[in-house]
Structure formats: structure tokens, C-alpha cells
């Protein structure tokens, strides 16, 4: 049934399972080693639940030293390692296989240091995204990238996937908000890259680590940029007859010189699904909806909103709702934030993540609808319009293998379309296994070979998260 292949399992490693487990048991506390089938079951998949593979064992280290010992052991014994944060990856980035162990760093979740004068904070990498902000919000600061899964996902996973969120239009994604990491290399060596200063010495290894999907090392600590919370934040909700009108309005807002903190888009199916679930009071007689959020001093907000509303009126806006209170603002966001959960209530879905130039939004939306319809399936679109990061939710029945295949095929067609119009396969979820075999559509053989040669500098033996990112049939290119 599985359309996505895994590399062949190394039978010699599987045969040595008892010996490997005994070796690991000497390296970590008993609480940090999971080997029973019942407990391993919790680690057999991640957010890409259609794919399940049992790991050989799961190690949950409590310290960088433990991670280092486990990595050195695996390196010496040829055991594959799949790093895992909270396991929320929608791309299958944290799915292991029978000849691999998982190193889960969720037990390493302390705040190490908060440094307000230098606007940075050092944390253990298993801390959740939201817990970082929670640690500094009483003092009026926050950590900017805010992926939808921020309650559960870890900063380690965010670094692996270069996660974004709704507010990156203004504040950037993980790579723009990270100052340093402690990284354990495959042979167990621990390196510090960057720190409290704005840049690190030598080549920009930090930039290379971010988004590398756990293939270059295991991140155990991170130094992140924290930002002062704005005085006030205010969203406005716009309803349009068509997605095209909404798309043109997005382009006009950006061209006008205003940079809102967020521009979120929902199409008609998404509005209906979210409204039925969240009762946010969204208009149901419109074809598309935008949530535009601005921030600053209160007087500043009023001026920005006036300009944005004026632009929306020039683009045939049908409904304008400005929030008059914090409660109304929360309500506007409530529907959007519940989109994935609300969709999950009515159907299984796969969430795509292609990114397109904002000028192509209307066209890609139209084609997305046509593509999914041609497979006899339904789609809801809810995404970050300001940066062109689309999230079509293709709904299907997970128990129907034929529907699953159709949903995956439709998703692949959409991603190919994104690349054709100048975009890319993934904006913030990563490649994982999900989009691995589409990499040829975005990259030439030479591009992939160069990336793999760089990968090999860190992991010559393909031990770290080996089934991910690079098409299996291309791997010989590395040595060409």
C-alpha cells in the first residue's frame, strides 16, 4: 500500500538487536531506553500517520553527554539514528525503521539562561516552541516563529525543518531567529556553533544546520533571539467573493509598503469547516477570507489598518470586520488556528506545503482546485498568503488504499505545479520521506549531488536519518 519506499532494512543490524540494546543500556539511565513493543508503538510514526515503521529501540537521553555516548556507540556499530523532537512532522521526518534507533530529546527541555539585555535565550533543544515564549512572556518578550503545532513541537524539530508559522512575514523563520546551537556529530563529537553574538566564526554552519532535517547531527541546545512584545496587536478580517480578489488584495497590500505581521488566507471550504467547528462568526456567504494582522503603538495600528482597509475596498472587499476588543481579536484567530483540527474531524487529510511567488497565488489556487477535483477528492485551502506558503488540505479516507494513493498523487501534482511557477516543494514542513521522491522536480542531478557531498562531510556512512530528503535512486551521485 505504501507508495513511499524505505531503504532495505539491514538484516545484520536487526539480528544484533539484543546486543545493541545491551550496549545502549550501559550508556543511558534505564528510564531513557525504550525497547518493549508496546512502548515502541508510540514512536512508529509522526504527523504523517499513513506511514509506520517500528524502530529498533528508542533512546531518550537526559544530557548532551548521553547523546554523545549514544551517537559514538551507533557510529562504531553501524546503527542508524533518527533524531526526534515531539514527532509532529507532517513530512515523515521523524519516522524510523527496523534497523534504526530513535534519539528523542523531549526529556531535555530546560531553559538554561535568559539574557534580556542581549535579547537571547539558551534552552535545551527538547523544549517546546510555546514554552520558550512562555518563559519570557511575563517580562514582555517572545520567540517569533510560531508553527501551528507550537504547543507540542520542539525547537529541535523547528531547527531541523526551519519551521515558520503565521508571523514570519515580519519576523522571518527559524533560521532568522537562531543564534547558536550545541550539536552532537555522528561520531559523538560535541561542537558549539554561534552563541550570543549576531554571527559565528568561519563558514555559516548554523545556516546549514537549520533545515537539514536531522541529517548532519543532533541538536541538544539552542540559543534563540527573543523580541519585545509589541504594545498592541490587532487583526482585521476581510471577506471576498473570490479567491482571485483576495489574492490581488494581498499583492496590493505588500506593494503599498505596509508589512503586516501576518496575512492568512482561507477559501470557502476552509471557512465552512472552521466555522462549523470554532463558531468564530466567519461570514459564510463569501468565497475567500483574509486575516490581516498589524502591530505597534496603538496610534500606529490605527493608521496602518486605515490604509489596509482602504486597499481592501479598492479590491472589492465584501465584509470588513475590525476587532474592537481582545476577545474579538481572539475570535478572529480562533477559526484559523483550529483549521487543521477542524478538518481532521470531518476527514483524514494530507497537508501540502508548497511555496509560490505571491503573484502566482490566484492561479495556483485555481489549478489546485481543478487537480484535486480531477481525482474525485475535496480540498480546503488555509495558508500564509503574505509569503506564498500554501497549505492545501486534501481530504480522503485513510482506510481506503485507493483514496490514499489518489490523495498522494494529487498532492504530488500540486507540488510539481508550485515548482513550475517558480516556487518550491516545501516552505516549512520539510521534505522528509513525503516529498523525497519529488526532489528531481526542483533540483538537477548536479544540485542534488552537491547537497549530498555536503551531507557526506557530516555523515559519510548515511547513518543519520538516512531515508529522508534525497531520492533513494540518486544516492550514487554523491560519489560521482
Amino acid at each position: 500500500m505504501s507508495a513511499i519506499a524505505f531503504p532495505p532494512v539491514d538484516a545484520a543490524i536487526v539480528a544484533r538487536r539484543p546486543e545493541i540494546i545491551a550496549g545502549l543500556a550501559k550508556l543511558v539511565e534505564p528510564a531513557g531506553l525504550i525497547t518493549s513493543e508496546a512502548e515502541l508503538r508510540a514512536y512508529e510514526t509522526d504527523g504523517l500517520t499513513a506511514y509506520r515503521r517500528m524502530p529498533l529501540a528508542v533512546v531518550l537521553p537526559a544530557t548532551t553527554e548521553e547523546v554523545s555516548r549514544v551517537m559514538a556507540f551507533c557510529h562504531a556499530n553501524g546503527v542508524k539514528v533518527v533524531p526526534r523532537g515531539a514527532g509532529t512532522s507532517l513530512a515523515g521526518g521523524a519516522i524510523a525503521h527496523e534497523d534504526a534507533i530513535i534519539i528523542g530529546i523531549s526529556r531535555m527541555s530546560r531553559v538554561i539562561e535568559i539574557d534580556y539585555p542581549n535579547r537571547c535565550m539558551r534552552v535545551e533543544a527538547g523544549i517546546t516552541n510555546l514554552a520558550i515564549t512562555a518563559a519570557v512572556s511575563p517580562d514582555g518578550f517572545f520567540y517569533a516563529p510560531d508553527p501551528s503545532s507550537q504547543l507540542a513541537c520542539t525547537i529541535a524539530g523547528n531547527i531541523g525543518m526551519n519551521s515558520g508559522g503565521a508571523h514570519c512575514l515580519k519576523y522571518g523563520v527559524t533560521t532568522n531567529n537562531l543564534l547558536g546551537v550545541k550539536l552532537v556529530l555522528i561520531d559523538g563529537t560535541v561542537v558549539e556553533i554561534g552563541g550570543g553574538a549576531l554571527d559565528s566564526a568561519g563558514l555559516d554552519l548554523l545556516g546549514l544546520i537549520v533545515g537539514s532535517e536531522g541529517q548532519l547531527g543532533v541538536v541538544t541546545e539552542a540559543t534563540v533571539r527573543i523580541i519585545r512584545t509589541p504594545e498592541a496587536v490587532q487583526p482585521v478580517l476581510f471577506g471576498f467573493d473570490t479567491s482571485e480578489d483576495a489574492g490581488r488584495c494581498v499583492a496590493a497590500i505588500i506593494e503599498s509598503g505596509i508589512i503586516p505581521v501576518a496575512i492568512e488566507f482561507m477559501d470557502k471550504p476552509a471557512i465552512e469547516i472552521c466555522e462549523a467547528y470554532a463558531k468564530a462568526g466567519y461570514p459564510l456567504d463569501v468565497g475567500a477570507l483574509l486575516i490581516v494582522e498589524v502591530e505597534g503603538l496603538p496610534t500606529d495600528i490605527a493608521a496602518q489598518l486605515a490604509k489596509i482597509v482602504e486597499i481592501a475596498r479598492l479590491h472589492d472587499v465584501r465584509v470588513v470586520r475590525e476587532s474592537q476588543s481582545a476577545m474579538e481579536a481572539a475570535l478572529i484567530w480562533k477559526g484559523r488556528k483550529s483549521a487543521f483540527g477542524a478538518t481532521g474531524r470531518i476527514a483524514d487529510y494530507i497537508c501540502m506545503d508548497g511555496t509560490v511567488p505571491t503573484s502566482q497565488l490566484s492561479y495556483v489556487l485555481k489549478r489546485t482546485g481543478e487537480i484535486v477535483e480531477s481525482y474525485g477528492l475535496r480540498v480546503a485551502n488555509v495558508f500564509h498568503a503574505g509569503d506564498g506558503n500554501m497549505h492545501p488540505l486534501i481530504m480522503y479516507d485513510i482506510n481506503d488504499p485507493d483514496e490514499q494513493r489518489k490523495a498522494e498523487d494529487a498532492g504530488n501534482d500540486i507540488l510539481r505545479l508550485c515548482v513550475e511557477v517558480g516556487g518550491c516543494l516545501t516552505g516549512e514542513h520539510g521534505v522528509g520521506i513525503e516529498k523525497r521522491d519529488l526532489m528531481h522536480h526542483q533540483f538537477s542531478e548536479a544540485d542534488l549531488a552537491q547537497q549530498m557531498r555536503i551531507r557526506a562531510v557530516f555523515d559519510r556512512g548515511w547513518l543519520l536519518n538516512p531515508a529522508k530528503v534525497f531520492p533513494l535512486e540518486s544516492r550514487h551521485l554523491e560519489t560521482v
Partner: protein
């Protein structure tokens, strides 16, 4: 000087590289040719033939240029549409005493980023896509023309700031920003280093969106000046300036400067103008935690800089050092041992750049990775060999 190759297109550049039998020094307009370690190459590969804007989409806030495109053309084209480069790259002609038109390829290759970095990030943060030719003569692309892009390894970041040691950049795609309607600078007079950095870091932790934070210490009888820049819509800048002044609670006599005065002030900070003279001195850039800026200066009391200034709210220290001995290398690096951060020698006579570590020495494990990355991209060591580290 040996032969100068000037390919007129990306594919011609790839042909040239495949045919190389000896290493090359990679040049744009050579306005910063006094930078880096001594490059072990007689021949030159110039990017000047790779000239022009590939596309500019104001509504997407996105531009793409060939590597040899003058920075001035980029800035002028953006200005016509009310936009600008977010990262405010420096023009180092005054610092190096050079002529010619700085090119965009150099800005990307050296990750050249000015005062606005504290708010808008460095060049590497705005650059979203690259095309380059590797040492095998293959044309490689990474990233794209969209802000969010995590498809495969992010080679964009790695190749930005690799000083031409990994490949020849041919095309650079980057995000731009709207030009502010108003730019105002709050100038605080007469603060000492520690008080000044305290004011700057406090302001950076305020919600008033500071886009520049620098301190120019007293020099030659002129009192010190501490600078805080606000940019944006006119009314917003006015309101934030009032709020900022109240927030800082008047640590010193202050005034607001605007117009040409504020623009030239930040241009001087950006370009290292305050440490350009005397031209015979060595110039260092030291990257530290902002609050460590004054600590660094205090630690150099036995080998004090002749002039210095702080940008990035204290996180970037420019030092003008006499060229006696190692031009302060040992003293500066010793001062950094307890602090973290790193020092780069950005201007010095040839003999000093041959004898001291221009870039901060790396721990063994990181040096091994750097050497591996060089080999992975430029196995024949054709590009700027030795510019960052010996053997790389």
C-alpha cells in the same frame, strides 16, 4: 598578476572553471581586495561580465541579479519603486582607499551587512536563492524566489559568507523592503561606553522597533554620541520617538536629527568611516554579545585601539589598531577567550595578513568540517585558496 578570466555568462564561467589548471582569485571590482588572508593564486576570475538585473517584482518584494551587478544599480532601481535593501550593506571604498563599483556578488559572498542588521537581519537572511558554479564546473542552484523554502540543504546560507572559497556565485535572489517614509535618529551626547551600551541594549528591548543602535566614543575633543534610529511611516516614527525618549528617561542631553544629517551619519557607521583614518592602521571587526562590547575595550587597556566604535547595540566593535607587532591580534583574541564571539582582521598590510590569523581560529572539529566543505565543493582548491584559513 597572471591571466584575468572575464566570462560573459554563467555557462561561460562553468567552461572557464572546467578548463582551469591553476587556482584563481575571484574578483568583482576589487574595492575590498585588501580583505582576507593572502590568496594563493596568480590568475583572476572576474565576475564583471555577469552583469544586470534578472528580475524585479516590487509586489513580491523580490529581486534577482547577476553577481557582477553594481550595488549602486540595485539600490537605485529599488529606490525608484520605493523599496530598499533590508540589510544595508557597507561600501568599503573609504576604508580600503579603493575606486570602482562594489558588486552585489561580493555583498553576498562576504555577507556584508550594516546597522539595520539588528532589526532586519544580515545579507544571508534576505538572500533566498543562489546560483553558483562549483569547482567541478557544474552550475548549481539552491533556494528559490520565495521567502520560505526548506527544500533540501540550505546551501544559500553556507555559500553566503564563504568569501568565494566554495564556488563562484553567478546569480543572487533576495527579499527587499519598503523604504521608510521617515528616518529619525535620537542622538545622546556625552555618554561613556558602559552607559551608552546600557541605553542601547535597553532600547533594543523596547517595543519601539529600533533600526540602528551605535555608539561613537569621544574622540579628539569631540564628545561621544550615542545613536538610535527609528524608521517607518511618518506619524509612527514621531510617536515612537516620543515614547522612546520617555522610556530612556533622559540619560544624557539628547536631540533628534533627520534628513541628510541622519543619512550621512548612518552611512559613516555602515562603511567604517570612523576607523578609516589613519589609513595605515589595521582595522578589526569583533562580533560579541552586545553587553560584552565595553568589556572587550576595557580588556584591551594594555594594547588600546587608536579609535573604535560600537554598532549593533554593542555587538559589533570596530577597532583601529596600530600596526606594530601583530596589530593587536593576540591581545584581542585573548580578551575574547572568556567572552565568546570572534574577531576578523579586515584591513592590514600584506605582511600582517600573511602572519596573523585573519579569521578567528576554529576548534579542531569545526576546522575539519570547514576543510571537508571546501573539498566537497571545490576539490581542486581552485577558488580563493587560503582566503579564510590555511589549506582551505
Amino acid at each position: 598578476m597572471g591571466h584575468v578570466f572575464t566570462p560573459q555568462s554563467e555557462s561561460e564561467a562553468a567552461d572557464v572553471i572546467r578548463g582551469l589548471t591553476a587556482p584563481v582569485s575571484i574578483r568583482g571590482s576589487s574595492t575590498r581586495s585588501g580583505f582576507g588572508r593572502h590568496v594563493e593564486a596568480d590568475d583572476v576570475l572576474s565576475t564583471r561580465g555577469l552583469d544586470g538585473i534578472v528580475f524585479y517584482e516590487p509586489a513580491e518584494m523580490m529581486m534577482s541579479v547577476h553577481a557582477g551587478t553594481p550595488v549602486s544599480l540595485v539600490e537605485q532601481t529599488l529606490e525608484e519603486k520605493g523599496q530598499m535593501l533590508p540589510f544595508e550593506p557597507g561600501d568599503h571604498r573609504r576604508l580600503y582607499g579603493t575606486n570602482g563599483e562594489p558588486t552585489f556578488g561580493a555583498v553576498a559572498a562576504a555577507n556584508i551587512s550594516g546597522p539595520r542588521r539588528i532589526q532586519a537581519g544580515a545579507a544571508r537572511d534576505s538572500i533566498v536563492g543562489l546560483r553558483f558554479v562549483n569547482g567541478r564546473g557544474e552550475i548549481i542552484k539552491s533556494g528559490g524566489r520565495v521567502m520560505k523554502n526548506v527544500t533540501g540543504l540550505d546551501l544559500v546560507k553556507l555559500y553566503c559568507g564563504s568569501y568565494g572559497s566554495l564556488g563562484i556565485l553567478t546569480e543572487i535572489t533576495f527579499k527587499v523592503l519598503p523604504r521608510p517614509e521617515r528616518v529619525w535618529t535620537l542622538v545622546l551626547d556625552g555618554l561613556g561606553d558602559s552607559e551608552a551600551i546600557k541605553a542601547l541594549t535597553a532600547a533594543m528591548g523596547s517595543p519601539f522597533e529600533i533600526s540602528g543602535a551605535a555608539h561613537l566614543p569621544a574622540h579628539g575633543g569631540a564628545p561621544s554620541r550615542t545613536l538610535l534610529r527609528l524608521e517607518g511611516m511618518a506619524a509612527s516614527v514621531r510617536d515612537r520617538m516620543t515614547a522612546l525618549q520617555t522610556f530612556l528617561a533622559d540619560p544624557a542631553p539628547s536631540r533628534v536629527v533627520d534628513g541628510e544629517e541622519t543619512i550621512s551619519l548612518w552611512r559613516d557607521v555602515r562603511d567604517g568611516a570612523f576607523v578609516a583614518m589613519p589609513s595605515g592602521n589595521a582595522v578589526w571587526r569583533v562580533s560579541v554579545k552586545p553587553t560584552d562590547g565595553p568589556t572587550l575595550i576595557a580588556a584591551l587597556s594594555n594594547a588600546p585601539p587608536e579609535r573604535y566604535l560600537f554598532d549593533w547595540s554593542g555587538g559589533l566593535v570596530w577597532l583601529s589598531m596600530p600596526i606594530t607587532g601583530d596589530a593587536g591580534a593576540a591581545a584581542i583574541r585573548a580578551a575574547l577567550t572568556g567572552l565568546g564571539g570572534h574577531a576578523t582582521l579586515i584591513r592590514a598590510p600584506d605582511d600582517i595578513r600573511r602572519s596573523v590569523d585573519v579569521f578567528q581560529p576554529l576548534p579542531e572539529a569545526l576546522m575539519k568540517i570547514a576543510a571537508g566543505l571546501k573539498h566537497s565543493s571545490d576539490p581542486r582548491r581552485l577558488f580563493n585558496p587560503g582566503i579564510m584559513y590555511p589549506g582551505i
